[in-house]
């Protein structure tokens, strides 16, 4: 298996090399298929590890200076490798038919396979240097991919700057946290840290954990470190945003669980309360912004923040249960978290890819310019709808199972005697309920405005169904959404093994396998397969009843518009108007601003020439925290720029002063 994993990584690098040197004609198919082969290899290794539980180990003393390279792929890491591999295969197949966004350039063709390879490498890294190397490589390659289009659109530059700043700050926090642990443990391999962790002083453990949560949280898009996510995910090309949103953000969760549960073996209650608070805040904030966005990709990006928030909520609940002596519930919550990571990858990948198709077919991703797409692009529209229902956690689709498990784990914590649990779990349940409602609202908006009704722009009116590769890439993930939702037992045992391997505690399996998902010792069971059958039977019965009751002929006429002669798309509901009531309710958080601009004709102020309305919502954290910080830094930067003014005399003086300072310090 180790040989296959090495071959996989080499294949990924080969794809990158081919992308850099091959002529433009064959560049895209060569890199894509080599990357698909690499992902296939990665999936095979991960599947083997998950099936047998024997880790794959690759250790060399070369490759990386001073430390060598240590890769150990265990069950927990293998889960993330498998998820990334499946998403990457779909994204690469999608990429074959995807034009635009400058993805065919030499740089992008080289960097995209590299990015995919690092996604497979990060969960296998088993010492601090290897991990940080792979992590940085992943961050930098994804930054390149966000920036490929920067010459054409100024908003890409801003997205790239935000992403670069946030990812580097995050990487810095991770570096500090891991180095702090490594320096106190007498070894930089994860095994050494895990062995020494119980004997470390509490402040070291606590500080390292907080730093690591900051760093990985920024990658997972956790509020308040999420600001880069709606920008970068929205501006990146379709397949790249799918990879980032369905595979890369997962690694933030991976990092928190790996360090918190795997290396530090859990910790005091306040760690997990912190994680839960961050998760709850992200879930609510993300869901709210996603429900009020009108840019389709921005909406999906905020929904990623929302879903990663739910995962963090589950991770925090798991840690809290462990620290208060409920190992069974702790495992259950962690299973719910990992399951949501897997299912989120399926539906969000599907949604981002089908949004890429919509963008390619219509030239816009503004919901207020879309409409009528289900009729014009039936395949893409259906795929989007399936992904959307998964995102809204509707039964029989995958999102439902994981959110149900999370809800169950939190509800079963309620009889606990522990006051912390008695206070936090009801809040967690409330957050889950509210975000679930907001997610359903978001999906109704995205599908109702984007897919139904009349087209609101010429681009949407002329939209044609996209090619097979685009539909295939997104369609596979849509099929997975349904499959996982109907037969969750396909993945639940694997995920449970992964969760158990990172907790490192032998806990009895709390979940029954087979058609039903049941909790040990509890009477609640979920049988999605039976629900699906019942649903099919109901739909069939309704169809029969309808045929029996309908008086024969069906006449299809125009929608009733008061007999108007002109019925245009401008009379339709828009995404902005759909979200308006919600915006009004949450005015304090969203701070909507309206700008009405009326110009009059020159002769008389009684006649209006044109009226335009601009509405915008801003991000509270950006306004309150990032903008002042940005202004402050800019002011100091401007001051600092005055110091080196080009005068040679001044530079010589600097040299002299520096020498004197060094001499004084050394003496």
């Amino acid at each position: 298996m180790a040989a296959l994993f090495v071959a996989t990584v080499l294949c990924g690098f080969a794809a990158a090399t081919v992308g850099a040197i091959a002529p433009a004609r064959v560049r895209t198919p060569c890199t894509v298929w080599l990357t698909v082969v690499a992902c296939g290899g990665g999936f095979a290794v991960a599947a083997r590890v998950m099936a047998t539980g024997r880790p794959v180990r690759i250790v060399t003393d070369h490759l990386l200076p001073l430390s060598g390279l240590t890769l150990v792929l265990d069950r927990f890491g293998a889960l993330f490798v498998a998820v990334s591999a499946v998403v990457a295969v779909c994204a690469m197949v999608f990429r074959l038919g995807y034009h635009g966004h400058g993805l065919s350039s030499r740089t992008a063709s080289c960097v995209l396979p590299l990015f995919v390879t690092t996604l497979l490498l990060v969960p296998a890294a088993a010492d601090v240097t290897t991990f940080l190397f792979c992590w940085e490589l992943m961050a930098v390659t994804s930054l390149f991919l966000v920036l490929v289009d920067h010459r054409l659109r100024p908003e890409v530059q801003s997205a790239g700057q935000w992403y670069a700043a946030m990812t580097q700050l995050g990487a810095g926090a991770i570096l500090l946290g891991l180095v702090l642990l490594a320096s106190r443990s007498g070894g930089q391999s994860f095994v050494a840290i895990a062995a020494a962790a119980p004997h470390l002083p509490a402040w070291v453990r606590g500080m390292a954990f907080v730093l690591v949560v900051l760093g990985f949280g920024s990658k997972a898009g956790a509020v308040p470190l999420h600001v880069w996510l709606p920008r970068a995910h929205a501006e990146a090309a379709g397949p790249v945003s799918a990879l980032m949103s369905a595979a890369m953000v997962n690694l933030g969760i991976y990092g928190i669980v790996r360090v918190g549960d795997g290396l530090l073996h859990g910790g005091p209650t306040w760690w997990w309360l912190l994680v839960m608070a961050v998760g709850a805040l992200s879930a609510l904030f993300g869901a709210l912004h996603s429900a009020t966005s009108r840019d389709l990709k921005r909406l999906l990006a905020y929904s990623t923040t929302d879903n990663m928030g739910l995962v963090l909520l589950a991770v925090g609940a798991s840690g809290l249960f462990a620290s208060t002596g409920h190992p069974g519930l702790s495992l259950l919550a962690l299973i719910a978290a990992l399951l949501h990571v897997v299912f989120h990858a399926a539906f969000k990948g599907c949604l981002f890819l089908s949004t890429g198709s919509i963008h390619q077919a219509t030239g816009t991703r503004d919901l207020d310019h879309l409409g009528g797409l289900l009729q014009r692009m039936p395949v893409t529209g259906t795929i989007f709808l399936v992904g959307g229902l998964g995102m809204a956690a509707m039964p029989v689709l995958c999102g439902f199972v994981s959110e149900w498990l999370l809800l169950q784990s939190m509800l079963h914590g309620l009889p606990s005697k522990d006051p912390t649990i008695a206070v936090t779990m009801p809040i967690g349940v409330g957050v889950l309920a509210l975000t679930g409602g907001l997610a359903a609202f978001t999906v109704v908006k995205a599908a109702g405005i984007g897919l139904l009704g009349l087209p609101r722009s010429a681009g949407a009116a002329d939209a044609r169904e996209v090619g097979t590769t685009l539909s295939a890439g997104a369609g596979v993930l849509a099929v997975l959404c349904i499959l996982f939702g109907v037969v969750p037992s396909l993945v639940i045992p694997t995920v449970a093994d992964a969760a158990r391997s990172v907790l490192g505690r032998p806990v009895a399996d709390p979940l029954g396998a087979g058609w039903e998902v049941g909790l040990a010792g509890v009477h609640d069971v979920l049988a999605p397969g039976l629900v699906a059958l019942a649903l099919l039977a109901l739909v069939g019965a309704l169809a029969v009843v309808r045929r029996g009751l309908a008086p024969g002929r069906v006449r299809i006429t125009e929608a009733w518009g008061c007999g108007r002669e002109l019925q245009t798309a401008r009379m339709e509901y828009t995404a902005t108007s759909f979200g308006e009531p919600l915006t009004r309710v949450f005015e304090d958080v969203l701070r909507p601003s309206h700008d009405v601009d009326v110009s009059h004709i020159a002769e008389s102020r009684y006649y209006v020439e044109a009226a335009t309305v601009h509405t915008s919502l801003d991000d509270a954290f950006e306004r309150r925290f990032y903008d002042p910080a940005h202004r402050y830094l800019q002011r100091w930067g401007a001051l600092a720029r005055r110091v080196p003014n080009g005068s040679v005399h001044r530079y010589l003086a600097f040299g002299l002063v520096a020498l004197v300072v060094v001499l004084v310090v050394v003496a």
Binding site: R553, R555, T557, E558, C562, G563, R564, E565
Partner: protein
């Protein structure tokens, strides 16, 4: 109070209403069989508002056609038919066709007033396309300029069978 008692009480004290008039002279006979309920969408195709005035009385407390199960709906989608007043002007011809198209089948068209029947005083005017019968298949005609509320109520009751 038991239901039977209430029913007896109602029977004893109910408002005496006129018997169903023989509305045959104004009803040509329609494809629709109604049993005590008639919901109509009113379209003013170019009327002088005289018919509207009388129509308002029909649903006023004095004549109160609602007690016979006759009502005006807000949307043709909910209606059994159209109640058209006035001659059909050029501007209203297309909206009238569209409204008719929006009524589910089987449907009734009632031409209310002389103008709706044969353009009345507006016959030959430059803005008039024709009578309602020239635009839509009319099932029932109610004559009068304007028809008084009793006539309208009698005709509609005859149609609704209430």
């Amino acid at each position: 109070m038991r239901f039977g008692v209430l029913r007896r009480h109602l029977r004893r004290t109910a408002v005496p209403i006129e018997p169903v008039a023989d509305a045959a002279e104004s009803v040509r006979g329609t494809a629709v069989r109604l049993r005590g309920s008639l919901q109509l969408r009113h379209v003013d195709a170019g009327s002088c508002n005289g018919c509207e005035f009388e129509l308002a009385s029909v649903f006023s407390p004095v004549y109160d056609a609602e007690r016979f199960g006759i009502g005006l709906t807000a949307s043709p989608r909910h209606a059994d038919g159209l109640l058209v007043t006035g001659p059909v002007t050029r501007n209203m011809a297309e909206p009238l066709r569209r409204t008719f198209d929006a009524v589910p089948e089987p449907r009734i068209v009632i031409a209310l007033g002389d103008c709706a029947r044969d353009c009345g005083a507006f016959r030959g005017a430059y803005g008039v396309e024709g009578a309602v019968g020239d635009v839509l298949p009319v099932d029932v005609e109610i004559p009068g300029c304007p028809p008084d509320p009793e006539t309208i109520v009698r005709a509609l009751r005859g149609l609704a069978g209430s």
